[in-house]
Every structure is written in structure tokens, then in C-alpha cells.
Symmetry: C2
Subunit: 218 residues, 2 copies
């Protein structure tokens, strides 16, 4: 699901207000940069963002992985393994999870919003896993690409063109990975408009600076 | 959210059938072990598991991360970055994602099931991220624990007791990580009933074999 399914927009705050369901929620105003919930949080509440912007992230020692930004109308829980921090001044409406069950039953649209938020978090979690699992092979692919373009690239109006003379399978063997992994990583670069792949054995670098920046970030 | 919120059970298949919404779905029977969808899937459909059991996993080279097992009544999409494989003979009901919008609107309970499935996937994704991000520090903690128990553990009916004489903060400094990371990892071991922490400076190993197996798995 995660982002591929258009979930139909509903304005949760308006819907809750007009169903008179907001009375049981407690308002809380949060200063910019405050970390409001951590994985060590004891309370088990659900909250809706009324205004502002929150960042949901995982943090391990010096590593931090942002999983989502929550905005007005989004729903989330205090009781997760993530940290929640205000990016700007933010107002939330809190209710105990046990009380929230009734809200879900009275207003089924709420679970659509939940599915949307969870889908976004899942999508970014998978990106994070790919980043961690692929770290080494990404670096080898980046080195291979940069080296190949430097050695054999030809300038053209579309960018630097390289006739690889190699299939994805050959590159995979060269780098010590699988065809699937090469495809996944090249697809990411294509989506980000850094490279183009007009046919099986040709690559075009559309944005060499971005390719170099990507390699140096690995 | 992810598993902490009891989402209220609905029997999606029954509900869809009685609302006469299953007619537009196409049945598909899948043999055990078949990989039915991959990240390279072109079609964009939603499916419901009618019977059997599917595994959703990420795969990178030789690494595989299972994110969920889907069972009868669960909903998922063909268009994700995960692989979907039949663990046993399975029957699914497929419909184009575009057509599924109407189903969601006619039967709001569907989005609750979606939220539940996404929550489970998210939970396991976070576990996977922790595993990847923590790999080295886990290993250092495991070594520290095993060594401490071997050197200073005292047998008791409850297990091997160790008076640490160290706070979590001291251990963190010793191992080169943060107090939060130590707490997260110790909490995992406590949840799995491998160790106990009756007070701040005492640890009990309830299952030494499990602790050793855990260390060797890292």
C-alpha cells in the first residue's frame, strides 16, 4: 500500500468537530524543537495534529532515521518505538487510546487517515532498510558509475552518454551483487533524474554533480 | 500505532460478501512457495487473502527481511517494494486499486484492516532497522553481558545473578554507546525473558543458553 494507494482525502479535524467528538480530547501546545514523545513513553494515547508540523524519527546512538512528517489532520500514537519532535510550533489534541476506539467506530474515516499515516511511515522505513542493507553495494555501484563515466563518457546535449557494452547481469557480476539489486539502485537514480537508461546497454548521466554528491554521501 | 492499538476485529471477507462487493474481485490460487509479487510488479492491484498464508519480505542480495505474514481476511497491495510469497497453498481475491476506492467508501471497516496490516509491517520494519543500525553495538553488549556473567555471576534459583555495580550510564560509556541504546537492547532481552533487571544495578540471566545463542547470532 504505502503511498501507492490514493486514500481519498478527508478533513479529520472538521469531521471530528462536526460529529462533536473533539470534546474528549486534551489540547497541548508544543514549542518548536521540543521532543514530545520517546520510545520510553509510558502513556498510551492517540493524538491528532491541529496545527504545525511534527517529525517522527528513530534514533540509535549517532544515527537518526526520519520516518515521517505529520501535519494538520494526521493521527499518530504516543506509544511507538519512535521519537516525535516538533519542527515548528505545534498544537495537538490527545486522547487515551482506549477512548479512541469509540472514535474510530463513530467515524470510520479516521482509520483511512491512520492507514495513510502508517503507509507513509512504512514507505520511509523500507527506504531506511534499503539504505542500511545496501550501503556497501551502493558505494560499489557509485564508484563503478563514476569511473565508467570518467573513462568512457561522451558529451551530448542530453548529458554524458556511456555505451556500457555490459548487461545489468554483467555489472552485477563485476560488482559482486545481483541483477535485482543493480536494477533497484539504478531505478532509484532514474526516479531522481540523475541518470537515464534509454536502452539496456546505454546510460546517460543527466546530472553529474548529483551523481558525485550521491557517491560522496555513501 | 503499530500493534499497540487494538483495532477491533472485523471479518472482512464476510462483510464484503454480505455487501455483495466480492463480485468484482478475481480469484487466484497460488501454489506453496510461489513468489507472486515482486518490487518489479507492473500491475497495481489490491488483494484480500481468502485462505492460506503469505509472507511479505524485503530481499537484498543474500539478505532477507520478513515484514509480515498475511492471513485470511488481510488486505495488501501488489505494488509495493516487497516480495510476496505463498508459505502454503493460498487463495487470494484481486481487484484493481482504482476499483478498490469504491470498496473502501462502501465498507469503511476495510481501512481498519489496512491500518492493522500496515501497522504490523511498520512494527517489523522498525525491528529490522534496529537490527541493522544496532548490529555492532548489540554485539558489544552481548560480549559484555556474557563476560560479566562468566566472571561475576552467582547461581541462584532465579538464574545467574550479577551485581553490576554499574549504572546503565557506566555500561554505555564502557561499551561506547548511549544510555538510551543500552536501555532499548536490555528491554528487548527482558521482553524475551532472557534476562531480568530487578533493580538498577542487578541483572539476572534467566536463560543462559538463549543469551549465548543470541550473542552467537550477531
Amino acid at each position: 500500500m504505502s503511498g501507492n494507494m490514493q486514500l481519498g482525502q478527508i478533513n479529520l479535524l472538521d469531521a471530528l468537530a462536526s460529529a462533536d467528538l473533539l470534546r474528549t480530547f486534551k489540547r497541548r501546545q508544543i514549542e518548536r524543537k521540543t521532543i514530545i514523545f520517546t520510545p520510553f513513553e509510558q502513556s498510551n494515547s492517540v493524538f491528532i495534529i491541529k496545527s504545525g508540523r511534527l517529525r517522527v524519527f528513530l534514533s540509535y546512538d549517532d544515527k537518526e532515521f526520519t520516518l515521517a512528517f505529520l501535519e494538520a489532520g494526521d493521527v499518530f500514537s504516543t506509544h511507538t518505538r519512535a521519537y516525535v519532535q516538533a519542527v515548528e510550533e505545534t498544537e495537538i489534541l490527545l486522547t487515551p487510546t482506549s477512548a479512541f476506539q469509540a472514535t474510530i467506530e463513530s467515524l470510520p474515516g479516521v482509520s483511512l487517515v491512520m492507514a495513510k499515516v502508517l503507509g507513509d511511515l512504512l514507505k520511509n522505513s523500507i527506504t531506511t532498510i534499503e539504505g542500511l542493507a545496501f550501503k556497501d553495494v551502493r558505494r560499489r555501484i557509485a564508484d563503478f558509475l563514476v569511473q565508467t563515466f570518467e573513462e568512457r563518457g561522451e558529451e551530448s546535449p542530453a548529458g554524458v552518454v556511456v555505451k556500457l557494452g555490459l548487461s545489468t547481469e554483467d555489472i552485477a557480476l563485476l560488482i559482486g551483487t545481483t541483477r535485482q539489486t543493480i536494477s533497484l539502485i539504478l531505478n532509484d537514480l532514474i526516479k531522481e533524474e540523475i541518470i537515464e537508461k534509454p536502452n539496456r546497454r546505454t546510460l546517460i548521466v543527466r546530472d553529474l554533480a548529483a551523481l558525485l554528491a550521491w557517491r560522496d554521501s555513501l
